[in-house]
Amino acid sequence: MSPAAPTAMRQGLHSCETCGLLSRPAPGEAEGRCPRCDEELVFRKPASFQRTWAFLIAAAVCYIPANILPVLTTTTAAGAESDTILQGVVLLWSPTGWPLSLIVLFASIMIPSAKILALAYLLITAQRGSITNNEQRIRLYRMVDFIGRWSMVDVFVDTFTAALIQLQPLMSVEPGPGLFFFAAVVVLTMLAAESFDPRLIWDAMSLQEVRHA
């Protein structure tokens, strides 16, 4: 018997990502479909490292224009004024509005950058075959996966602000070019988190460590 932790992959078993059924490839076959839900079975998400890196790098590239370009343009009788995400946070800051200002700061600036850094860290450590801090790394992955959607907050704020404030010629608000890049960052980081296979965190350990379950 192997002393390593018994994983499905080591036992040559496919665990269906869709329905959870455990199954064994038919004799002489390397791959097959899930007999229960018809999903094509794989041991790990295909090209997980490459796909996650691709989405992540694209997100990091979009992150720059997302923060430099204005997301909203306000036109009043006095002229037009454009605000970036950070300027929007500053504008919201007031004796009563500061909690919301903090929410936007977290959701729009800290979460996207933290997500990119966290996923890069998970990718690098998994690719280097790290076997330490697995519990922390899987918790980090779950946090990234759970919290990512909340970055969309600013997209909705700007959408409804622009839709409502249409009081020409008094005042009108229009979306700016930064909004597109910001939405792209949110979508790309969500796709990156989806393409990452958390089992890759444990694969190096499964090969070496003695079972302790």
Binding site: S23, A26, R33, D38, I138, F156, V157, T161, A163, R199
Partner: protein, 228 residues
């Protein structure tokens, strides 16, 4: 590479691999309400929901009604020096589209309107199909795609965004909350309840298999056996 050869199911349907760390383990028999976690990575593997299908059906029907109402009445309005404006969820996306931000408008429409509709519609069909003695294959097809609709359905995020927008706008104008605003808040809770009351493992255990005849007579049959 696509393959049309089916795998052979593992004999014991209670043996699973953790989706987050691949550790093989045997699920314990769980009392309704109890849950099992992976001993290695602490991922929740299964939570046995009590009276899952009936409760999910009730919550899904409620969510469907609220969804229709929420999308047919105004959500936010404002008045400023005698002028009025109001918008629905779809109206917000429509405005972005007309202003040239088509991609962002499509994303808003997807996450606030289309994905929630699919999330509710799929769930309704899944539960109705699963209430049959032997859930047909199409239940599995819907169940397969349901997590995607859930990922992109972001009503709760939208509501936080609306709250921020509301407070921003309150600086310039009097904000008039529309009926949809309250309905959407209720919908957030119903959707959360719908997801937590649903036990996908229970449905998968009873479903008609993709490969005809491969389905082992397993513990999953116990639910239906008593009806015949």
């Amino acid at each position: 590479m696509s393959s049309h050869v089916y795998n052979q199911p593992f004999a014991d349907s209670m043996v699973v691999a953790c989706p987050h760390c691949d550790l093989l383990q045997r699920l314990p028999e769980l009392a309704p309400g109890a849950s099992a976690r992976c001993p290695r990575c602490n991922k929740e593997l299964w939570r046995h929901r009590e009276d899952s299908l009936n409760r999910t059906l009730a919550l899904t029907l409620g969510a469907a009604v609220l969804y229709v109402v929420a999308n047919s009445v105004p959500m936010l309005g404002l008045t400023i020096v005698g002028r009025q404006a109001s918008t629905t969820v779809i109206g917000g996306a429509e405005h972005l589209w007309n202003e040239g931000s088509q991609a962002v408008a499509a994303l808003v429409l997807l996450t606030a309107v289309i994905a929630p509709a699919l999330q509710i519609g799929f769930m309704l069909a899944i539960v109705l199909g699963a209430l049959r003695e032997r859930p047909p294959k199409w239940v599995g097809t819907l169940l397969r795609h349901h997590p995607t609709t859930r990922t992109w359905s972001m009503i709760e995020v939208m509501m936080l965004g609306v709250l921020v927008a509301l407070i921003k706008i309150a600086d310039y104008a009097t904000v008039v909350p529309g009926i949809a605003l309250f309905v959407l808040w209720a919908l957030v809770f119903l959707l959360a309840g719908m997801q937590t009351s649903f036990d996908s493992r229970e449905v998968w255990e009873r479903i008609q298999w993709a490969q005809a005849g491969a389905r082992p007579g397993s513990a999953g049959d116990r639910v239906t056996e008593e009806t015949s």
